[in-house]
Amino acid sequence: MKKKASKPAIKSLQKSPSGIQGFDEITGGGLPTGRPTLVCGGAGCGKTLFGMEFLVRGATQFNEPGIFMSFEETIEELTKNVASLGFDLEDLVKNKKIALDYVRIERSEIEETGEYDLEGLFIRLAYAIDSIGAKRVVLDTIESLFAGLPNQLILRAELRRLFHWLKLKGVTAIITGERGDETFTRQGLEEYVSDCVILLDHRVTEQSSTRRLRVVKYRGSTHGTNEYPFLIDENGFSVLPVTSLGLNHIVSNKRISSGITQLDEMLEGKGYYRGSTVLVSGTAGVGKTSIAAHFAEAACKRGERVLYFCFEESPNQLIRNMLSIGIKLEPLVRKGLLQFHATRPTFYGLEMHLAVTHKMVNVFKPDIVILDPINTFVVGDKEFEIKTMLMRIVDFLKSEHITALFTSLTPGNSALENSDVGISSLIDTWLLLRDIELSGERNRGLYVLKSRGMANSNQIHEFILTDHGVELREAYIGASGGLTGSARLAQEALENAKVLTHKHEIERKKREIERKRKELESQIAALNADFVLEESEAVKVITKEQDMINKLEQDKMEMAVSRKAVMRKSAPGNLKKSL
């Protein structure tokens, strides 16, 4: 809720916040305080509700009591009607926060004769205003007076006086009016109420209806001029000022895992940027939802909140299907971390989808939003509208720091990149899944078409769905190009076989060498043994010979002794040395 736009220094237009979601943003603070505002539109476009919510929010949030003067619905009807939107009028009336007054005019009961004025209405209104100190007034729909009172001249003069009187009273008033053919209201009320005119619209295109709101005029104030989609649901009115956002969202450097390790590796090993927008596109049945589910699961495991919009499958079906590849989403739903929101795209118009998305995000406050798939919205040639819508969603999610993952179905007959070109500029990380048809087989390939702010892998990876999730394999790139599936397996087998042969060869060589070495060693050992044998033989012989020499020497000595000859002793020593 924005605060009043008034500044103390410069006396600018005072505004009364309506409390209606989004409306105060468009008008920069709400309706002009103390002035009447005309809310016009066709039947069933939400005029009464707009007025009623203005009063109820005023009474409950801004402490401004209000009067609802109804010219169409009785008090009982009104109370019941708005009870379905969560407003407890009875309670507010009891606490003198709101006063309801039903004004009934029955033409058949009334005869007109001579001059009159509408002082009775003024008195009634004044009485009601004074009784609860009202600051806000809703007159719904004052044009009914034209049906009840025959003299238009008097009526017009009195209405002019009434609006002037409301200004003097200083109440912020809403006057509703039925839309006319060429004028905003059937009776040209815009002539009298010219400070602020709001147009509500309920349009049907391609069989789906969208409610839109436009501020036609706001005297003394700037305001958003677009047509803003709004929705009415169990919490009342909400308007979406989504296009007012600029490209100034704060970016994050944090990275979050995609839930698939190999995919993270393709993205610098870190995954997506937080707050970025990821698009997964591809033809039917390539596994876009699986990637989304992985991402959701990973996020929930980190304790983050995920809002999953599915437009094609029911949540139960999705949970079951994902279970088949080993992703268990159901416990996450029960924990409240994952919330599914399933609607048919045709259920309501684009703007309405946008409005619902907006609202759901505001309520659930997720960290991650998944839209699966985005292009089922395309009914007929509405690319421009879809682009606008997606741009709004992307802008909105970015401003909320929410990481978004969209899946997009590419028709089989068109170029993969072309079909999404309408939104490609909005996307930060674009994963493309494609079929690779080769040798009677259809396999899936994944590559990162673009990824802003990171050095991503540029290789096509083969994308395999297993019972424990998605697996990415580096595709075989060989002389004959990229191979996938069984062709890749065959090629791999072939390569493996080659490698095996080489390995065997090496083994064989090794064994041969070993054998040779052993052979050699055994030869050496044998020679050694021979040598040792010979050596010992030789030693024996030498010893024997030495003994012989010694013996001879001794004999010689003995002979010399017996002959009493003197001999040098050195001779036998010399002989020993020479051995």
Binding site: G114, E115, Y116
Partner: protein, 104 residues
């Protein structure tokens, strides 16, 4: 609240109960009251009662008869309720409005 009573009628079921709503003593209010009195004297002599309600003094009374325009004459009895708005200057229309003259 000013209550002016005419002479009481002979039978109860013929009694006319009329209420005139006004806002203060405006010229329109005075004209209306004078016109009404005249018509009643001429047409309903002795069997009518007129209650004049000033909404400036009793604003809460306006809601009961769904009064918007002033002056408004309300025929409470005999039923059905009839309303005639304006200063009652056109006697013929007042008589039509009060069912005293058939609609032409």
């Amino acid at each position: 609240m000013i209550i002016k009573k005419g002479k009481s009628g002979k039978t109860a079921d013929e009694k006319w109960v009329l209420r005139l709503y006004v806002a203060g003593e405006s010229p329109k209010a005075l004209t209306a009251f004078a016109n009404l009195k005249k018509i009643c004297q001429e047409q309903l002599k002795g069997k009518y009662s007129i209650e004049v309600i000033d909404l400036l003094k009793n604003p809460q009374l306006g809601a009961e008869d769904q009064i918007l325009a002033l002056p408004t004459l309300v025929r409470k009895l005999p039923v059905p309720v009839r309303k005639i708005i304006g200063d009652l200057s056109n006697t013929e229309r007042v008589l039509v409005g009060l069912d005293l003259l058939p609609k032409s």
